[in-house]
Each structure stands twice: as structure tokens, then as C-alpha cells.
Symmetry: C2
Subunit: 353 residues, 2 copies
DNA sequence: GGCAGGATTGTTAGCGCTAACACCCGCCGG
DNA sequence: CCGGCGGGTGTTAGCGCTAACAATCCTGCC
């Protein structure tokens, strides 16, 4: 039995009675092709089921139309949503997205992931790993790859797209204060995450501004319901706590559970506000008042920023004249901030009910 | 300022004083290269910061070492976890993973995604879209691409890896029956999902086996807490319902919320069992008894199955590994079932307390 | 000392595509 | 009637790499 290989451009050319270059021209929408010729070529392409060879094309054009996404934990709602937003947007711009999941979040892992992606010749990289270590590692990435970080806050010298965590935290805290609480406690996320740092900063700043008594944040949370629960057990024993702002919804869930188990009613005895607005937040007991961030939008914006960087300082350096210096893509480092909104539900109320 | 292009193999060869072919041999671990030569080449590679051109290599080897993953909703915990497991495993096998998120789940979208991935010359595709429509569409995919579906149950003529939904559902239902409930109600997932169908079938079968009264399933759920809540409202009004098996944890969460709001205690008045064991399940009020599926493992197994298919029928034949003769495996739509386990927590108890 | 035969290295020919240029045609103005 | 022009097309030369084969260099051994 004859082994039939996939048709190549020459096969199409033969079938259409033209040269392979004309086929190429049709494929790339070159202007000067006679309509009748174009049609003949298109017919031949369809009949043979021809599919251009991406590798060959890449070899000569030096463009892969592929973007890399590095993510620490795609299992969390936030990162997963961003990845989704990124892919959707990438498709519109006709880019492929390849992912690199990080096993750990140390500097080495990040650089390894970058390396891996570069081996595949991605034209740019989006990093969804908002830990300080990751950002530090990113600074070490050679300047010839476009990199955009998401959720890494206001860090310098790196293009980034992020929700304004601090503003969101301030909003949540002020809301609780407005309700009449003397002060607000904070269940913080991991210190190594910039989001966590910024939320903590926003909380603290709100307290300061309103002249509310400063209290220590409850540190050591890891975003999980588990740690929220552990903190909740401690809070249950402390009647002075009437309002808690949690760094994310999952921890709020654990907290809610502990409170309920300890016999403290929410929101009558303790008010709770979360951050993220995961889809389930509405169905917690009670429905969680929280700060919504539009992850999808973050992903889309990050992608757009990356594409812009690629377009500006293109891959492989387009024929910029000699004497033209390198584009300062790093120096300009566009920073997009997206405004979160407070979603009021039933987990926060005036103290005492 | 001299414009420097990325070094190519010839540059390395020159620097090391060998031919480019020797460099290629070093890169590809060919046996007959003198150690001293190899070292010289490696040094040159490091010094020049040489990075092989993937496109050129692909062009001649006809291998991209890239796999595609099609996913409907990566935002859900299950799909996200599988994607994670897949990527982890892919890295071990030295494959890249590119994702294609589906906007809708109709046949056309699936085929478009497949097409897109084929344009990128992926060597195989994993589909995480366990709807019946998706499976139908997959049958239309040309046989020259390896495809593995995950979570699409026991469908014929398609390689697949899935959790044994039916067994899990039976286990959950029997557990409730063992507790002493007269019968068990079922909050079903969307009919178009095979997982949902199988869980429903498992539930029904368990009822039959045990001679428990058959009741109609509550249909129309869409996996979200929202629909769980809506069903919960209905159940609250019906005191005959003492035990509910939910097709997933999110719906169970909504159900719990509605029950609590309606003044029915869990598990004293109503027992609830979920499916999935998402990380938060442990912190629901009360902690959810549920069926755990090991998504990570599903992802890993799917990847392994795909790699095997590629190796067996793959492009350019099997890799020239250090192994011995040809392996006798053949692509005959392997079907892997993974056993779920029941995780007992506090949401189910004997009727009446 | 010479030669078989394996180890080691070099040379050549593409992989399938696009860029650059050459070529052909018909038409215009001079 | 010729040179020039500009659409439309073909020809040629790589892109950077690996596979095949050719050419060396060693060994050990008679």
C-alpha cells in the first residue's frame, strides 16, 4: 500500500497549473493575483485538503504566532479565569497559547518555565504568578522576550495588568467601618503574594484614614478555606472581633464555617467581607459580601498589552535601520490597573445585628 | 551598533572548530561523539547562548512535540485540575501543551478548535469537554490525529480516560441508603454532559438494586450553585425528602444554602452528598460528604494514553530511544476508568438525626 | 607493517515555505 | 516604432536543521 504524504504547496501548484509561489501569494493575500487564478488555487487547496506547514513558514518568517502563559496554580478560580480570558483574546488576534504550569513558585522554577517557553520560540509571555519571588525572577529574564505580568501589582520595571487590590481592600474596609464597626480585622493572604500585600495595605490605610484602632492582621493564610477555618476558630473565642475583611473568598468560607460552628452568627455577631467574588460566593451561608474582580478582563487586557509590545519591538527585531537603538520596552513598562467593585450581599451588617 | 542575530548551529560549529553536524549530534545525544569534542561543543553552546531553532528541527523531523488541549470551561475546578495534571505530565515527556478554549460546546466549535490545533501541527489532542455533542463531533475528526477524550465515559470508538462516574454515584447512593433513608433523591447535572448521565444512571441503579422506591431526578441543573439553590428551595417545601445526592459539589453548596435558609437542618432533617470533592467541600456548612475524583490523575493518564497513541501510530514512527525493539502496542481506543472514593464528612446522617 | 572494522567526523541534500528578483505581457507617450 | 511602466507570474535562493552517506581516524591483530 502506497504511503501517502500530506500535500505540500507544490502539489497544490501542480493541481492548479501555477507555480508554488502563486499559491503562496494566494495564501498570504498578496495583492497582485488575478481573481481567476486565485479561485483556481483555492479550489485546488480545498480538493487536496492542503494545510500549510507551520514550521516551514515559521522558519522563514521567524514568527510563530505563539504566546506562552506561565501560571502557578491554574486550579484556583482567579488564575483559571485569567487563562481563559487570555486564550479567548489570543484567538481573536490569531495567536496560539501554550501553557507552562509551575510546580513551585521559586525563582528557579519561573526561569525554567521561561526557558521552556523560549525553546518553543514563543513571541511573548504572560505570567500569572503574582508572588514576589516570581516578579523578582522576571527581572532576570533577558530583555529580548516580551513579558507581561498579571496581578503583580505596582511593581516597577515590568509591564503588568492588575486589579487595583489596594483600592478594593479600602473599599471593603470602609464599608465595614461605615456600617458602624469600631475597627476591622484582616485575615491576610500569604505575604509572598503581592495581591495579599496590597490588600493588607489597603485595609491598613483605610483604618488609618478613618482613625479606627489599628489591629494586627492575622497572618499566615494561604488562600485556602482551611486556613480561614483555623483563623475562625481563634476569632470565635474573641468577642471583641465584630468585623473581618478576608483577603479572598475561600478563606472567608472557612471563616464562616468556623464562626457558625462556634455559635457566632453572621452577620449579627460578626460581619465578614471577602475578595474575588467567586461564583459560589453568592451561595455561602450567608451569601458573601465581597469585592469583585473581573479576571476575564485582566486576562484580555494582559494579552492586548503583550501583543502591543510584540508589535512595537517585534520578534527577531524587524529591519530597524542600523544606528536605531533598541526599543525601551522595559523602561516604559505599561501598567494597567483595573477597578474592582464591592458586591453587597448578606454577610456584613451593623454591629449587634 | 552591530545588529546581532541569534546564533545558529553553524556559529557554534565555528566556535568549537567542528562541523555543524557534530553540533547536531551533541544536541541529539548521538552515541559516537568523542567526549572531548562534546565538551568543546557544549562550551561553545553555552558561551554563545545558542538555542536550537525549533521550527527548523520540526521541518525536518516532522515532530512538533506539541499537544493540544481543548477545554470547554477551564474555570470549573474539574477541567482546571485536569489541565494542570496534563501539563505536568506533558513536561515530563518533554511535550508542550497548547490550549484551545471553547466558547460554545456545539459541534462546530469543537471542530474549529481541532482545526486550529491542527494548523499548529499538534501531534495529538486531549479533549476536556464531556458533553455528548463534543463526543459526537470528535467522531468526525480525521483519523490521522490522535485524540483522547477525558470524562466522556464509556463512549465507543474513542480513546478515553474517565472517572467511573456510575460507580461513584452508586457508592454515594448506597451509603445514604445504608444510613437508613427510604430512598434518595438526585439533583442531576445537565443532560448533555456524559458525567451527569452516568451519575444519574448510577444513582438509579443503586435504587433499583436495593429495592428503594424510584423517584424522579431533579433535572435541569447546570453544575452551578445557583441551580442547586433553586432545587433546594423546592425541596425545603417537601418534607418527604430526607436524602439528596447531588451531581456535583457546587450544586450541593447551593442546596445547603437553600436548606439552611428554609430552616431545614443538615444532616438532621436532610442528608446531602456531593460529587467531586473540591477543596472547599470540607468547609461547607456542614462539611460535605462527597465522592472524590482524582482529576490530576485523570489528566496524567489521559496524557499517557495520548503519548502512547502517538508512539504507536505517530508521525515519523517511534522515537529512536535507547530502548530495544519495536513495541507491540496498537491504537485500539483504550478506555481507562479511574475509581472514585467516598469521602465521609458531616452532611449525611441517619434520617431523623 | 598492513589491513579489517568500528569510532568519529565531515559533506551533501533536502524538509516546505517566503522574499527577492527576473521575466513576460499589453499598453502608453513620444 | 521604441522605451518605459506596472500588473501578473515564474525562478532562484535561502531559513536552520537532520538524515544519509562519504571520508577519515584509530584500534587490535596477524
Amino acid at each position: 500500500m502506497e504511503f501517502e504524504r500530506a500535500p505540500v504547496m507544490a502539489d497544490v501548484a501542480r493541481a492548479a497549473g501555477v507555480s508554488h509561489q502563486t499559491v503562496s501569494r494566494v495564501l498570504n493575500d498578496h495583492p497582485n493575483v488575478r481573481p481567476t487564478t486565485r479561485d483556481r488555487v483555492l479550489v485546488a487547496i480545498r480538493e487536496l485538503g492542503y494545510r500549510p506547514n507551520a514550521a516551514a513558514r515559521t522558519l522563514v518568517t521567524r514568527r510563530t504566532r505563539t504566546l506562552g502563559v506561565i501560571s502557578f496554580n491554574t486550579t484556583l478560580y482567579g488564575p483559571a479565569s485569567m487563562l481563559y480570558g487570555i486564550e479567548q483574546a489570543a484567538r481573536q488576534y490569531d495567536y496560539f497559547v501554550t501553557v507552562a504550569a509551575l510546580a513551585a513558585l521559586d525563582r528557579r522554577s519561573v526561569l525554567e518555565a521561561v526557558d521552556r517557553l523560549r525553546d518553543q520560540a514563543v513571541e511573548g509571555i504572560i505570567v500569572i504568578a503574582p508572588q514576589t519571588t516570581a516578579v523578582g525572577a522576571l527581572a532576570k529574564v533577558p530583555a529580548d522576550v516580551a513579558v507581561v505580568a498579571v496581578g503583580c501589582g505596582t511593581h516597577a520595571s515590568l509591564a503588568s495588568v492588575a486589579v487595583d487590590n489596594q483600592a478594593g481592600a479600602e473599599r471593603a474596609t470602609s464599608y465595614l467601618l461605615d456600617l458602624g464597626h469600631r475597627t476591622v480585622h484582616h485575615l491576610a493572604g500569604p505575604r509572598s503574594w503581592l495581591d495579599a500585600q496590597e490588600r493588607e495595605a489597603g485595609w491598613r490605610r483605610s483604618l488609618e484614614r478613618r482613625g479606627a484602632p489599628q489591629v494586627d492582621p492575622m497572618a499566615g493564610g494561604d488562600w485556602s478555606a482551611r486556613t480561614g477555618y483555623e483563623f475562625g476558630v481563634r476569632i470565635t473565642a474573641d468577642p471583641s472581633v465584630t468585623a473581618v475583611f478576608c483577603a479572598n473568598d475561600h478563606m472567608a468560607l472557612g471563616l464562616l464555617r468556623a464562626l457558625q460552628q462556634g455559635g457566632r452568627r453572621v452577620p449579627e455577631d460578626v460581619s465578614v467581607v471577602g475578595f474575588d467574588d467567586i461564583p459560589e460566593a453568592e451561595y455561602f451561608g450567608p451569601p458573601l459580601t465581597t469585592v469583585r474582580q473581573d479576571f476575564d478582563e485582566v486576562g484580555r487586557r494582559a494579552l492586548r498589552a503583550l501583543i502591543e509590545m510584540i508589535g512595537a519591538a517585534g520578534p527577531g527585531g524587524p529591519a530597524t535601520g542600523p544606528g536605531r537603538g533598541p526599543r525601551g520596552s522595559r523602561a516604559e513598562a505599561p501598567r494597567v490597573a483595573i477597578e474592582p467593585t464591592l458586591v453587597v450581599r448578606a454577610s456584613a451588617a451593623r454591629p449587634g445585628g
